[in-house]
């Protein structure tokens, strides 16, 4: 039965990728750069949240500190292009490795903390990083780094007139991160992550080095988040601390994942699919009024989902599936009896 499920899921996964590959060929999308923008953001935010999901969802360590890693990746790319005038790729790699190191260094002491204490400690870390980057002269502090005009193409990962390559870039990012998580989910590491989430003491008693597991999950998560940060900069041609390294950015990671369903493979995608178009289109419709109507609606939706289904949209779907299953069983019962 498990086997069967896996196959079904595999099929769903391949279909999804093929559909996403074909999205730019839909004439409506191809003609509409804003729709492309929304699609890119969906993929990017789904990837970001999936990176967070590794540590926050599967491993249960709710970190509000991911914008630090996101920001380091972003600055890696930004510094390479703006300060050193080279292609962003070395910066991205160095940034991501650096993010990994920073993740391990800051989370090792923090893992001593439990629950809300951990969450608030990560808050504090974001605020500290944010304010330090705000005054760090070498990375231009509060001024931020603005991209100069550079040659377009994959070497610089910059395009000015089209968004399709960005779309495919985001798709590559998305597929990579989702595949990694999908692989993890079904293997030893994934089970260990969940064991640590559920009960650390039991996990230890079963021979799991929970500190190592948490640290490696954090490192992996930071590495992937950092890639997303680099993509974000390459897409927006600018990086400054409030944009990439603030509590608000961190909240996006958490929000998307939890809304979709933490600790599930498709949760982040579902969360992004709902949240991002909502955010973008409400802004388009009501943002111009300048009355905060869009953000009020956005907040209202978050409250609504949390109140009605605290486990997120995946929880909703699971509930629905279970409901159907039990109904099937119930309807099958009389036949057995008779």
């Amino acid at each position: 039965m498990i086997k069967e499920n896996t196959k079904k899921q595999d099929l769903l996964w391949y279909v999804l990728i093929v559909v996403l590959l074909l999205v730019p060929f839909i004439p409506q999308v191809a003609a509409n750069s804003f729709t492309q923008h929304v699609f890119i953001l969906i993929l990017l935010y789904a990837s970001m949240s999936q990176a967070w999901n590794i540590i926050g969802g599967y491993c249960g360590q709710v970190s509000f500190g991911h914008s630090v890693f996101f920001g380091i990746g972003a600055y890696g790319a930004g510094m390479a292009v703006v300060k050193f005038g080279i292609t962003p790729w070395p910066g991205i790699i160095i940034g991501s490795l650096l993010a990994m190191v920073v993740a391990v260094l800051i989370s090792y002491p923090c893992f001593k903390l439990k629950g809300h204490y951990f969450a608030i400690a990560t808050f504090a870390i974001v605020e500290i990083f944010n304010r330090l980057f705000m005054v760090w002269y070498w990375v231009n502090g509060a001024l931020g780094l603005d991209y100069p005009m550079v040659k377009t193409g994959w070497t610089n990962f910059v395009w000015y007139r089209t968004k399709i390559p960005y779309y495919y870039g985001a798709l590559i990012l998305f597929t990579t991160i989702f595949s990694i998580v999908r692989f993890i989910e079904r293997n030893r590491f994934g089970y260990y992550l969940r064991a640590v989430r559920e009960d650390q003491e039991t996990a230890e008693a079963t021979g799991i080095n929970s500190t190592f597991i948490k640290l490696s999950a954090m490192a992996l998560s930071a590495f992937l988040a950092s890639f997303c940060g680099a993509f974000f900069v390459q897409y927006n041609f600018r990086v400054d601390p409030p944009m990439v390294m603030s509590l608000q950015v961190s909240m996006v990671f958490v929000l998307v994942t939890i809304l979709g369903g933490a600790g599930t493979l498709f949760g982040p995608l579902l969360g992004a699919l709902i949240l991002i178009p909502l955010q973008e289109y409400t802004r388009v419709l009501w943002g111009g009024l300048g009355r905060g109507t869009d953000l009020m609606l956005f907040g209202f939706l978050i409250v609504l989902i949390m109140v009605r289904q605290p486990k997120g949209i995946m929880g909703l779907i699971n509930e629905y599936l279970n409901y159907r299953k039990t109904r099937k069983i119930i309807s099958a019962q009389p036949e057995i009896n008779s």
């Binding site: 750069s33 923008h37 705000m134 931020g144 974000f232 600018r238 909502l278 419709l285 943002g287 300048g290």
Partner: protein, 419 residues
């Protein structure tokens, strides 16, 4: 179950509405769409909403016949023989990434001809790059970062004086005071919000001070939206500079002044970049405490005799938003007028022609101080100027340059205890 249905209905309606809005073509042919892009939510929402209203005012004057207004294009209706301007508003929330996305949407989806914006320099930068890449014109009213017009963009025009010119003017004032009044001002302190805007202003301030030979003894960046500014003011007080340059936005500005009052400290002279200081509600909020501060001002209601044409336009503006123009918002109106004038003069909507026309002429602009606008390469308005004013009895008195001044500077600032 029910909930799934509800959610999907919500989402579907949202999408549906969006597609409808997107698809709805304007029936009227003779329109020019112009996008506005300002921070309408978030910490700069106040300034953003004023700028938006200023653009609306300008468009109102251009589109309809307003013979009472003595500004170009007011008497006639529309442009190019009947073209009307239609505004599309967008909100960038003070975030550069959203500014870029919205600029793209305005150009690609809404099909606007040009964008007026974005107040925050950090947002103007990426948004104007979008325009530049598409070779479309971007009109910037009041973003003050000098770097914006040093990028060598072809299609970017900015009306307001930069913080660079303001800084130089500040130093001129100090020199003038030293020269004519024997003020003996030597040291400068800078207090600024640690954001793109504040940092730029402070950097330019330091450069200008160094060039003029003043010593910057203390440099206090602070995080905007602070709960208190005790340590900031204490730091200033400890170093006790003769002159303080301030770059603080509204809420922080009141907090700053109040804190100085509590600490019972004032510099001899206080010069502010055009922000919190020239907000029209500041005198209402701070009462007498607001007095004797000085700053660069591009426009204040007290300038009526210098700029007689503003009053009629300001009336329309005030109906919309309840306060008079301030020097930020009026620049956005100027931007709109200049663009309209250029289109009218060029006689076409071709971007290159309009751009060349913009560069080639000196524009008559009754809403700008000095009444003229002319652009130099990079898009800076070379005629942009501001005056140094001092708040006296709740009014912005012109004090420098001397040829336009009406009142004497009250120097040094009257200490709190003697008010």
């Amino acid at each position: 179950m029910n909930f799934i249905k509800k959610i999907s209905i919500i989402i579907l309606t949202t999408l549906l509405v969006f597609t409808l809005v997107n698809g709805a073509a304007f029936a009227q042919e003779k329109i020019i769409k112009i996008g506005t892009l300002f921070p309408l939510t978030g910490s700069c929402a106040l300034a953003g909403s004023r700028c938006k209203a200023a653009v609306e005012t300008a468009v109102e004057v251009i589109n309809n016949s307003h013979p009472e207004c003595d500004v170009p294009l007011a008497a006639q209706e529309g442009l190019l023989g009947g073209y009307k301007i239609v505004l599309v508003h967008a909100d960038h929330q003070g975030k550069p990434d959203i500014a870029k996305a919205e600029a793209e949407r305005l150009f690609d989806q809404e099909g606007v001809y040009t964008i007026v914006g974005c107040y925050n320099s950090a947002c103007t930068n990426p948004a104007s790059m979008v325009a530049e890449r598409q070779e479309k014109i971007f009109m910037c009213g009041c973003s003050s970062s000098a770097a914006l017009t040093e990028r060598g963009l072809q299609y970017f025009f900015r009306m307001a004086p930069t913080d660079k010119t303001e800084s130089i003017e500040f130093c001129d004032v100090i020199e003038w005071m030293n020269g004519t009044k024997g003020a003996n001002l030597k040291t400068i302190g800078i207090i600024y919000e640690n954001t793109e805007f504040g940092k730029h202003a402070a950097d330019e301030g330091k450069l200008a001070a160094a060039e003029a030979g003043f010593e910057v003894v203390v440099d206090v960046p602070f995080s905007p939206g602070a709960t208190n500014m005790n340590s900031e003011v204490q730091t200033l007080k400890a170093k006790n500079p003769d002159v303080v340059f301030g770059a603080c936005l509204g809420g922080d500005y009141t907090l700053w002044v109040r804190t100085m009052k509590q600490m019972d400290w004032l510099p001899k002279m206080c010069l502010n970049y055009c922000t919190g200081y020239q907000d029209p509600v500041i005198t209402e909020q701070l009462g007498d405490d607001a007095n004797y501060f000085m700053g660069g001002t591009g426009y204040a209601p007290e300038f009526a005799e210098l700029m007689p044409a503003v009053a009629a336009v300001e009336k329309i503006y005030q109906e919309k938003i309840g306060v008079p123009f301030d020097s930020d918002s009026i620049q956005e109106a100027v931007a709109t007028f200049i663009l309209a004038q250029a289109i009218e003069k060029a006689g076409t909507l071709n971007y290159d022609t309009v751009r060349d026309t913009l560069y080639a002429n000196e524009w008559n602009s009754p809403l700008s101080m000095g009444g003229k606008v002319a652009f130099v390469s990079g898009g800076q308005n070379a005629k942009a100027m501001s005056m140094i004013t001092q708040l006296q009895g709740g009014e912005y008195k012109r004090v420098f340059p001397t040829e336009l001044s009406t009142d004497e500077v009250i120097f040094p600032m009257i200490p709190w205890s003697k008010r």
